[in-house]
Amino acid sequence: MKIWSSEHVFGHPWDTVIKAAMRKYPNPMNPGVVGVDVLERSVDGRGRLHSHRLLSTEWGLPSLVKAILGTSRTLTYIKEHSVVDPVEKKMELCSTNITLTNLVSVNERLVYTPHPENPEMTVLQQEAVITVKGLSLGSYLESLMANTISSNAKKDLGVSFVEVRGKRMDPRRLSSPGSWVEGSALVRQRLLMESRLPSSPAELMERAWMCGRKLLYKFKGWAAIEWIIEHSESAVS
């Protein structure tokens, strides 16, 4: 399911943009990227350069949480495959997460080509697909809400009563609410409980979504490239 796509035009020629793209990290727009390695690199029979890279990113969790979890468990790894065709002047880059894959997959594709009308400019087309595993994002959010509201009313809510129309009632008697008033009181109680004691699978899924959102911010990838170009104008010949 495609979630996000955009196009950006750089005011620089293709060669300049590509040189910056190959040296993208570190940059201040992506502080979460803490490690980059080239795993494999080769030129194919058509003269195109293939690179396989491994990125490690930090979630940006508070240091207390990191201390509890252990630093290595807060790292997310991403693999990247890029192809640079110097004759056709096209660079294509695809990346996907290789950890947290049981929860979420974030797939990104970037294509850099010269602007069709102006060779001094470069077009970046970018698209990202985020899939919460097993569900589309919309239906995941729906089911999360549905589960919160319709969770088993027969369970002990941890309170000894529910207040309905000023009367204290045993919540277990409301497991099959006879009226919408009783039902909504139950729902309110449950939601209150849920907000204080989030269930772990739901919280984990939300964390995965937050992780995906942080990666979304990284999708303003053009801003990082512009910064690299600006800060290495003298080095880029």
Binding site: L49, V87, I98
Partner: protein, 76 residues
């Protein structure tokens, strides 16, 4: 920028410098032959592969330089 394996960072930076120079001055100008960074890359690679195994990073199906289609044992 650091390497994923802390011990490999210096080798990575040396290789990156070599690669970036070759990429800008040769490859993009149409001369893709004669990669001068092969030796640097081999040493750097050995270090990275070791780090990947140690950290149990789930890399699969990649061909590593000089190792053909061999897959790392610790994949997934």
């Amino acid at each position: 920028m650091n390497s994923v394996g802390e011990a490999c960072t210096d080798m990575k930076r040396e290789y990156d410098q070599c690669f970036n120079r070759w990429f800008a001055e040769k490859f993009l100008k149409g001369d893709g032959s004669g990669d001068p960074c092969t030796d640097l890359f081999k040493r750097y690679q050995q270090c990275v592969q070791k780090a990947i195994k140690e950290k149990e990073i789930p890399i699969e199906g990649l061909e590593f330089m000089g190792r053909g289609k061999e897959k790392p044992e610790s994949s997934s």
